[in-house]
């Protein structure tokens, strides 16, 4: 059965069809206000099931998954691209990929959120590399201090997202600054190990160790937090 043959007419949700404000800032504010939806606990099994349904061409499942992931992914994309329009394009490309490749998702290898994050991040990196915006972004890292925010500035409309964000930020505070910086440049800057080493004028082996140790510390902190 193909996606085209299983289109259901009841997919469109009321919050999907609201008209958008004319300015980007206005749109962002408007969206933030409209995020007062009922809390939904993150449930990897539920999300994995949604992906499975998407693989079968279920547009409603696609809408539900979008609702669960899109705020975080859009925020991440915006942080990486530093441009609302481009972040939206990245998000669209990411969800197009999810729609097309849902069948390739392997729950034994990663959680749905991690899978979606890696997809959108890769799309953002493709654009960053294509448009050579890394310099500007990295300058931003060095001049403005950090990609990671010290506190959650959002209205935290999804409690699960807010809690997870707080947990990760707390975990990051326990990581040495140089490890945190290497992780920032890798995740949001889209830089490879070699590029980070070059940018920081630090041996490649040191950068590898920083990223590895940073991820291990983060993993441990998250495990403890969970």
């Amino acid at each position: 059965m193909t996606a085209a043959q299983t289109i259901r007419p009841t997919v469109v949700r009321s919050d999907f069809i609201k008209s958008a404000p004319t300015t980007v800032e206005g749109r962002l504010r408007d969206r933030a206000h409209r995020m007062n939806r009922p809390a939904q606990e993150p449930d990897s099994e539920l999300e994995a099931r949604l992906i499975s349904q998407i693989a079968g061409g279920d547009e409603a499942a696609f809408g539900m998954l979008y609702e669960r992931f899109s705020a975080s992914l859009y925020g991440m994309a915006f942080r990486m691209m530093n441009d609302a329009k481009e972040a939206e394009d990245v998000l669209q490309e990411g969800f197009t990929y999810i729609w097309r490749k849902a069948a390739s998702y392997d729950s034994s290898r990663s959680t749905p959120f991690a899978w979606a994050v890696m997809i959108v991040r890769n799309k953002a990196i493709d654009r960053l590399r294509t448009r050579q915006r890394q310099e500007r972004l990295h300058d931003k890292v060095t001049t403005e201090g950090s990609f990671f925010q010290e506190k959650d500035e959002t209205s935290a409309d999804q409690p699960s997202v807010r809690e997870r964000g707080a947990l990760v930020r707390s975990a990051l505070q326990q990581i040495p600054p140089e490890q945190r910086q290497a992780l920032e440049l890798s995740f949001f800057g889209g830089l490879t190990h070699e590029q980070i080493a070059e940018r920081l004028a630090t041996p490649l082996g040191t950068i590898k160790a920083r990223i590895r140790r940073g991820l291990l510390r983060l993993r441990d902190c998250l495990k403890e937090g969970l």
Partner: protein
């Protein structure tokens, strides 16, 4: 226990930094090694969790519908109607056939062009060779012309010399000597041009002939029975006199010149006294 270098490799694999060959090897190892798989899973989760540190932003609400609309359109575009499908299927073959025909035509054209090109090159070579020969001949001709002109110039010079010599050879200079003591102080010189049949008479210190008398010059031609008159001339004083003359009749050769004193106006043949003679 996974060593650190392996852990680094796994992290780079998860971040998509490995080349395809190495990535395939790592992927194969993960597929068969549970410990590696678990570690990769944990690292990916930790890495992906960084996304939570970004400020969540309300996404464009219409984006899922936009994605689905585009996917429907792409699906329709990729599935042509059955009738059209045959056309679509035929298009690649038609294109291939057109390409083959075009290749064949181009091949023939190319071969023909090559042949023409070779022929033209051969002709150009021959023409070039002929041009070289002609240029060589032209150079030789120019050299010969120069030599000829030089020879001509030389000949002209020689001819001029010869003519000059000839002119001199044609001239006869004769000094006339007094036959009478009274005219011992007088001098007379005749320059005779055989070619022109005329001459110049120069007199000096010759006293006037006297009333009713004139001096008359004679040309003695051995082939003529009588001396030929070359004219009369008056001598007003004993100064230098120069006058040209022409014999009354053409003479073939000159043996001598003579001056006589004749009655005024001269005589057809010498009648008076011969005073000066020169051979």
């Amino acid at each position: 226990m996974i060593d650190e270098s392996k852990q680094d490799l796994l992290v780079q694999y998860l971040l998509g930094e490995l080349d395809s060959t190495t990535a395939d090897k790592v992927s194969a190892e993960i597929a068969v090694d549970g410990e590696l798989r678990d570690f990769a899973h944990e690292m990916e989760e930790a890495f992906a969790s960084l996304a939570y540190t970004a400020t969540p932003i309300a996404p464009p609400p219409e984006l899922p519908q936009r994605v689905l609309r585009m996917e429907r359109r792409a699906g329709q575009d990729s599935r042509p109607a059955p009738r059209l499908r045959m056309i679509w299927l035929a298009i690649p073959w038609a294109l291939a056939a057109c390409l083959a025909i075009a290749c064949a035509v181009l091949g023939v054209e190319w071969a023909s062009t090559q042949k023409s090109l070779i022929s033209l090159r051969e002709k150009a070579g021959e023409t070039s060779k002929e041009l070289g020969l002609l240029q060589e001949k032209n150079a030789q001709s120019e050299s010969k012309l120069a030599q000829t002109q030089e020879a001509l110039t030389q000949s002209e010079k020689e001819l001029a010399l010869l003519r000059e010599r000839n002119v001199l050879a044609e001239l006869k200079i004769t000094t006339l000597k007094a036959q009478i003591a009274a005219y011992k102080g007088a001098t007379a010189v005749v320059i005779w041009d055989r070619d022109k049949g005329s001459g110049v008479l120069q007199l000096d210190k010759l006293s006037p002939a006297g009333p009713g008398k004139d001096y008359q010059l004679w040309v003695i031609d051995p082939k003529k029975p009588q001396p030929v008159s070359a004219g009369v001339f008056a001598v007003p004083n004993e100064g230098l006199i120069r006058t040209s003359f022409h014999p009354a009749v053409p003479v073939e050769s000159v043996d001598a010149f003579a001056i006589s004193i004749e009655k005024a106006g001269g005589a057809p043949k010498p009648q008076g006294q011969i005073i000066l003679v020169g051979r």
